[in-house]
Symmetry: C2
Subunit: 300 residues, 2 copies
């Protein structure tokens, strides 16, 4: 059961699952056209597996939409899924004071509620039917730390981490496994849209970042799951951030974790200093722009 | 400008502010009766200060409610506040599968949106009027880590931390200071309500916790602010959690932080082991209860 299955990470994951022999894959997203296109691609490439592949079109930002989508999948397959990959979501970076309330609400819906409602309906279905399954949530590097531009994104991605952390503990009661995958920037259509609204200081801070393809990203996710890691990431700097920010959750490889923890402890204050220094460098420009836009009501 | 000012931490903070000479204090909450009562208490105790004290009754879980409350305060005082203390919020611990969608939504509204909407309207007002003020958000120990029972609370409190982290960076552009205060359990009417719905494993995990009074809590907050700490807490264990979970944000006292970081690195895996061990100990009981309630649809 893959949400956000019409593009980006969700689509690449659905392909990986089919190509690696998964027999019942359901992809869920809003866009029927997008879902059909993915289904065609899967058809062509892996016809010899003959898996039962379906799609469900649904708006997952409501509790009703999320549970109807799951009921639909159950009806078509005759059973509830046992693996849930919650990949739906998007990011629209912008200055906080420029965000409309609708954008802030939409940002939280797209990051948090798309994940939480499906997790809720999935947990209830798995517990009631005694399915010892797995839920994989998708966080972000920006679930660990946040900076200028991400006030409509980081809160939701932090919230996903909060839900995963609480649920990992709680689902020990029902033998259901919860994992959290936290990728960095992925080269997807979503990333291009994201960049079009990105404030100047945010772009500057991300200058050196390298994007990975959705397929590489899936490989990172799968490797983390195969190794039994609760949280896994895609980049060196995310591993540092994991060791500086994960709090009370299980670690991964103890030896690697130890060195990353040391490095994170030394590197974090330096990182914060340079991030803040860069942001402050934009202060004059940003204030001049606001002045020119007539944003200020009172002269200084 | 103190939200959640009718009880608990917000009420205690409003009192502290008036008693320490703040001349214009506005308290905001839903309950008019509660607000009036606080105002009477303040009247009696500190009449000699003669501060202009007002209350605004508002529902802060909507953007409209939050900005109307601020406009009301502006109208009465003739200016926008320069210090915002966002204390509104509550917690209703329960098992995830027992939560109704309304409870999950309400939990996020009460923790995240009460804070985010006021922060949004406050930032816009401060930037537009060139007020070099301060926003203090209230997170929780459960902004750093989460466990069984807190799926309607921790996501919102993690989200508050995400917002504070992003906003601390962004508001460097406008000389506005953002702080995050993360208390442990406080002995308030809210805590009693919280305990009435708390699942058995959650109670067990919190068995050794000591509550502090709202007044002690305010002292911790004030001390952190006076020392210029971005994040401050109320307990030793929260300090450990801060060093294991804060990610890319400024630290406090470098020497204390260093020792706390060492301790957190050693202690965290042990803490996780015992937390998980305790939760697993409830597995049989919880499953038997669900069996008796007829929750299971399929026999094992």
């Amino acid at each position: 059961y893959v949400t956000g299955g019409s593009q980006g990470l969700g689509r690449a994951l659905a392909k990986w699952l089919v190509q690696n022999g998964a027999s019942d894959v359901v992809i869920v997203a809003r866009s029927v056209d997008g879902l059909k296109k993915v289904l065609e691609e899967l058809e062509v490439r892996v016809l010899h597996h003959d898996p039962i592949r379906r799609y469900v079109s649904a708006d997952l930002i409501t509790s009703k939409g999320a549970s109807e989508a799951l009921e639909e999948a159950q009806k078509r397959h005759g059973r509830y899924p046992d693996h849930y990959f919650l990949c739906a979501g998007y990011s629209r970076p912008r200055y906080f004071i420029d965000h409309t309330p609708e954008e802030l609400q939409g940002g939280l819906d797209a990051t948090y509620w798309t994940t939480a409602w499906t997790a809720h309906t999935a947990c209830k279905a798995m517990v009631a039917n005694r399915i010892k399954g797995r839920i994989v949530m998708v966080g972000s590097f920006l679930s660990y730390t946040a900076f200028v531009g991400y006030t409509s994104y980081s809160p939701g991605k932090y919230a996903v981490r909060g839900l995963a952390d609480a649920l990992r503990s709680e689902m020990l009661l029902h033998d259901i496994t919860v994992n959290l995958f936290l990728p960095g920037g992925i080269d997807t259509p979503g990333y291009e849209v994201e960049n079009s609204s990105k404030p100047a200081p945010t772009k500057k801070l991300e200058e050196g970042d390298t994007l990975i393809t959705a397929e590489e990203c899936v490989n990172h996710m799968v490797r983390g799951l195969q190794r039994g890691y609760y949280q896994s990431t895609t980049m060196f700097v995310s591993e540092l951030m994991r060791m500086g920010s994960r709090g009370g959750v299980p670690g991964n490889n103890p030896i690697k974790d130890f060195f990353m923890w040391l490095l994170a402890g030394i590197g974090m204050p330096i990182w914060v200093f340079f991030m803040d220094y860069t942001v402050k460098g934009f202060r004059k420009n940003v204030q001049r722009e606001l002045e020119q836009k007539g944003y200020y009501k009172r002269a200084t």
